[in-house]
Symmetry: C2
Subunit: 137 residues, 2 copies
DNA sequence: TAATAATACTTGCATAATGCAAGTAAAATG
DNA sequence: CATTTTACTTGCATTATGCAAGTATTATTA
């Protein structure tokens, strides 16, 4: 809903006309700027695709939050729902081109976190992490 | 406050013991994961230092939010308060080394936004933007 | 020197988002 | 066919957001 004061939005806008700013950083944050969204993208980059996979990550995302974030990421064209690859009728999620383009952002976040947040570590080696991100091919 | 379920935090943790995850991305998002914090860092990178400067950015950040974010960024060691450089008794803000290390993240956000959020643009040329970021020196 | 303006916040409050816990429904499994 | 698993939805208490107005200090102007 657009509020009275220019630029103030309660729901992140998609259309340019409803944007709080012409700045690409601000517009990116309207989609990505919360504690959970980029973690869902991280898990997809790491190869996880199923609702149960996201829940199993160490942060313990609440299921109503996960559901809401998956819905928003789909509406933003960053992920898509696809048939699960295990022969069942279940659905899985995948990154679109727009979503895969978030890799440099995740790498920068991870690198900053490793350097400046003591005690943090990735679950896999840096080489494996980079390999799964398609870096250094 | 640490909640009952493991990993659920209402206030972003600083100490490792209170983290929701060992993942550097998750820990970085505990500090940076909202719509306003990285915009404050953007403005500092662009050379703005004063409270009135942040307010003047196109997004129109509410003053209570700005105040709160500046306080949190200081507590996280990302920015510091310094005397204003205009000979008055007013104070200004500056990035620490930890804060300056966020440049690659801002560049990745901006580049993603420019590519995938149609109609967004930076206020200055890419060369000027990169120059002010110290990239390509 | 006093009045006015600018700056840097704080406060009150309504609304929205978050997140816990429990629940539901469909699909899968044994 | 019964049970389990998976993918959500719902209710509600708490927290965060953000508008508008206000306060206090500092700077500027007349």
């Amino acid at each position: 809903m657009i509020r009275k004061k220019s630029g103030h939005l309660r729901k992140p806008a998609v259309a340019a006309a409803a944007r709080r700013s012409p700045c690409p950083v601000a517009c990116a944050l309207d989609i990505l700027g919360d504690r959970w969204t980029l973690l869902v993208v991280r898990d997809l980059i790491l190869g996880h695709t199923r609702f149960r996979d996201f829940i199993a990550s160490p942060e313990g995302i609440p299921t109503n939050i996960l559901s809401e974030r998956l819905e928003r990421l789909q509406r933003s064209g960053i992920i898509e729902q696809v048939p699960a690859q295990d022969g069942t009728k279940r659905l899985a999620y995948g990154l679109t081109g727009k979503g895969k383009a978030l890799q440099p952002l995740l790498v920068a976040l991870r690198d900053w976190g490793l350097e400046w947040e003591k005690g943090t570590r990735v679950g896999i080696s840096n080489d494996e992490f980079r390999s799964s991100y398609g870096i250094g091919k």
